[in-house]
């Protein structure tokens, strides 16, 4: 018994990044144990990643072998830049980050922050998206090699490795910083506004980009791509190509730019990580400003649900309505709907009109008419995105759903109430969207068309997602990070989401067909028909899925309860 508890100052073995990677692999592996469908999902996700990687490889490699490499710097700068942008923004808006290794779990271990950050960073690299990105980027190595031989290829390898690190660090830093901001309630409101503004800026920028595409030929974009190449967005990707084109002096500088950006991001991440580890428990500002007024029942009902009767249905609606606002995870979803709802249709329709104009120039005077079919299609997309938020609505509640099981809430009642509460927020949003789109397109007469399409697809989406939420529910981790997903659930989530969106889109296609075929009559019929279609679909969905829910309450509870 020679071991002493009053431990030696230096631990026997140093903890390295390798341990974190192995821990992550082990956690992933244990998650698969006895869960065939999870393995299947993971394999499917890996295959999709591989396919995307292959496509990306071709895109990045082609310029090396065509046109004597004239477009190589441009493809590298813009393509790579888009990748960084994607890693920066997509986790925020859509996918969340894989928190297999939750930083908070390491809070009690005597690990220096440097070890922790490098370890978590290394573990974050072990993921399908990161590997797929790396594979795709090897296309750039092929390009650099084809143009400049081995030396260029070698520099490019260093470049893309650093670039992938940059991508992953960007995703981590942004989500982590955003999450710790969202934790304090007061900042959450601010963050919502900021995110909306940021997205609002993205839209016009893209429009500017599109019009730039129309007005200038590709060669004049070389200047822009050169500038991008000197920012962290393009630097890692163009270093090897610079060598190939005889600017060997540029490569070290660009790699230095990348390294500095990487260091800054990791530093930022490590700072917000600290607050994620210690501050996870404090929510701050939980106490509302005013003292309770009135009885308990009237406290439960928010003003937005004040019309509801004081019975079981009303209580469900009131609680859900409160939760859509008070739960950071749910609120992040509402913000997403608002942002996507406004900008996707604007971009699609204005951009679409622009493209029509562009191709029309060859045939003389092109028409800039926005098409009714395209507008309906984009509205359908928004409705689908809005409704798909409910695809894992029971997962939001987690084990708290036990209260409904114990109280014996009927499935149809439950689903109808959830739809109603969600609609309290979403229907006004959709109404605003339809008006804004009609105004932006300068077609005020199309409000009926846009609103009808929206409500039809939203209603159909509610019905489809009722089924998905009952049959395909999965547990969300009980952390305060609204972007956190369970390992493996990321793939499951994307698949279920896609499936639900696809089925919803099919269910709402009649609206698009009608818009394309019926012409002017439809402008007047669209709103009543669409609203009725949506309402009918939602009620039918609640009716049918409610039956299923009645038989599956206990299984659903087990599915949404996080495994401890």
């Amino acid at each position: 018994m020679a071991v002493e508890l009053t431990a030696p100052a230096v631990p026997a073995r140093r903890v390295s990044a390798r341990h974190f990677v192995r821990l992550k692999l082990r956690v992933m592996g244990n998650n698969f144990r006895g869960q065939g469908w999870r393995i299947a999902l993971f394999v499917a996700g890996a295959l999709v990643g591989l396919w995307l990687a292959g496509t990306g490889f071709v895109v990045f490699a082609t310029p090396g072998f065509a046109d004597g490499g004239r477009y190589a710097p441009m493809v590298a700068a813009f393509g790579g830049g888009l990748l960084v942008l994607g890693w920066l923004l997509l986790p925020l808006v859509f996918f969340g980050v894989d928190e297999t290794l939750d930083p908070a779990r390491f809070a009690l271990l005597p690990l220096p922050r440097r070890t922790l950050v490098t370890g978590l960073f290394a573990a974050a690299l072990v993921s399908v998206p990161a590997v797929a990105t790396l594979l795709a980027l090897f296309g750039l190595v092929a390009t650099a090699g084809a143009l400049g031989g081995w030396s260029a290829a070698l520099v490019q390898v260093v470049g893309i490795l650093a670039g992938v690190l940059l991508c992953v660090a960007a995703a981590r830093a942004v989500t982590s910083a955003f999450a710790s901001m969202l934790r304090s309630r007061r900042v959450r409101d601010l963050a919502a506004v900021l995110l909306a503004v940021a997205a609002a800026l993205l839209g016009p920028l893209q429009l500017v980009g599109i019009s730039a595409l129309q007005e200038t030929d590709w060669d004049s974009l070389t200047g822009v791509s050169e500038v991008v190449g000197w920012t962290p967005f393009g630097a890692p990707w163009t270093a090897g190509i610079d060598v190939a084109e005889g600017r060997a002096w540029a490569a070290p500088i660009k790699l230095l730019i990348t390294a500095l950006a990487l260091l800054a991001l990791v530093g930022w991440w490590s700072r917000s990580l600290e607050s994620a580890m210690v501050g996870a428990a404090s929510t701050g500002g939980a106490r509302a400003k005013s003292d309770p007024t009135g009885g308990a029942v009237s406290q439960l009902f928010p003003r937005a649900a004040g019309w509801a009767r004081r019975d079981q249905f009303g209580a469900l609606v009131a609680r859900e309505a409160r939760y859509w606002w008070r739960d950071a995870r749910r609120r992040a979803n509402l913000i997403t709907i608002a942002v996507v709802g406004i900008f996707v249709p604007v971009l699609v329709n204005l951009g679409g009109a622009g493209f029509t104009m562009n191709s029309g120039q060859g045939f003389g005077q092109g028409s800039a008419e926005p098409s009714a079919g395209l507008v309906s299609l984009s509205m359908l997309f928004v409705g689908v995105v809005a409704a798909v938020t409910l695809a894992n609505q029971f997962g939001f509640d987690g084990s708290a759903y036990a209260a409904h099981v114990v109280a014996g809430v009927r499935g149809q009642q439950e689903l109808r109430a959830r739809m109603t509460a969600f609609s309290i927020y979403v229907v006004p949003m959709l109404a605003v969207v339809s008006i804004v789109i009609a105004v932006v397109l300068d077609r005020p007469g199309w409000i009926g068309l846009t609103a009808g399409g929206l409500f039809a697809s939203y209603g159909a989406g509610l019905a489809v997602n009722s089924f998905v939420s009952v049959l395909g529910a999965y547990a969300l981790p009980e952390t305060s990070n609204p972007f956190a997903l369970n390992s493996g659930a990321g793939v499951a989530k994307s698949f279920l989401t896609m499936l639900a969106m696809l089925v919803t889109a099919v269910a709402a296609v009649p609206m698009v067909v009608a818009a394309a075929l019926l012409g002017d009559v439809w402008h007047w019929l669209a709103l009543p028909v669409g609203a009725a279609y949506g309402l009918g679909a939602a009620l039918l969905g609640a009716y049918l899925a409610g039956d299923v829910l009645d038989r599956r309450q206990a299984e659903l509870l087990a599915a949404v309860t996080p495994r401890r």
């Binding site: 939980a286 029942v297 939760y323």
Partner: protein
């Protein structure tokens, strides 16, 4: 009429998780009006058994009846008679205490006026009124237990099923909970709760069952189970624990 039935009757309840037996056929009768303690070490299957008994977890085999109503065949009627406080289950914790109670009351189909009145009383008795509009998520562990108990009591159930009601509760709150439960049983209610705290069980319970490795090892009134010894001795013997000899972990004394 329903008084002929035991308050809770379990027959052959069994559950496996991933091939591992968690509960291996539990038979149990909880007489109406009894204060029933379900004892067992960690991992004995207490939570699993109670979850199956109240309709939260579907058993692989067996039946659970509440005052004669089968929980899995006629869940709505059985659940009306039940008040449940599960352990390790979240509450709808982004509501304030008052909101949460109002929610539970309305879920149970109670009259809003009655809900208001009982909520105010329960919050007062459990000393939660001061929490005001603090969200339940920001409550301390003991306060969460108390509000959970209030949720289970609100609709005046005939049978209370409580999983670990005294865990993480400070002595003052524990005494309060004990008093409330004792009064509830005295006025005709039935309580079954799980615990591994011997003193509480010995002080409160009229009946005891000892559960270990997914099966009932001892059952009966508290006097029948403990005989002339202390409940703790019986428990350790039944569960088959070991006592430290002082030889192992010698480095701890350095």
């Amino acid at each position: 009429m329903t008084d002929e039935h035991p308050a809770l009757s379990l027959r052959g309840l069994a559950k496996r998780f991933d091939g591992k037996v968690a509960v291996a056929g539990v038979d149990l009768d909880v007489p109406a009006g009894s204060f029933y303690g379900l004892l067992g070490p960690n991992g004995a299957g207490k939570t699993t058994t109670l979850s199956m008994a109240v309709g939260l977890l579907r058993p692989d085999a067996g039946q659970a009846r509440v005052l004669g109503q089968d929980v899995w065949v006629d869940p709505v009627r059985a659940k009306q008679l039940l008040g449940v406080m599960p352990d390790g289950v979240r509450l709808f914790d982004r509501l304030s205490g008052a909101e949460l109670l109002a929610y539970h009351g309305l879920l149970r189909g109670m009259d809003p006026a009655v809900v208001d009145q009982r909520t105010a009383e329960l919050l007062d008795v459990l000393a939660l009124t001061d929490a005001g509009r603090t969200l339940v998520v920001d409550y301390s562990a003991g306060m969460k237990k108390k509000i959970g108990l209030a949720c289970a009591l609100l609709h005046g159930p005939r049978l209370l099923v409580l999983d670990e009601p005294f865990e993480a509760v400070d002595p003052v709150s524990a005494a309060l909970i004990r008093d409330i439960l004792a009064r509830y049983v005295a006025s005709g209610g039935t309580v079954i709760f799980s615990s591994h705290v011997m003193e509480v069980v010995e002080r409160l319970c009229s009946h005891v069952a000892i559960l270990a490795e997914g099966a009932i090892k001892r059952v009966g009134t508290i006097d029948e189970v403990r005989g002339k010894r202390s409940l703790e001795d019986v428990f350790v013997e039944v569960v088959g624990g070991r006592t430290a000899t002082g030889e192992e972990l010698a480095w701890l004394s350095n």
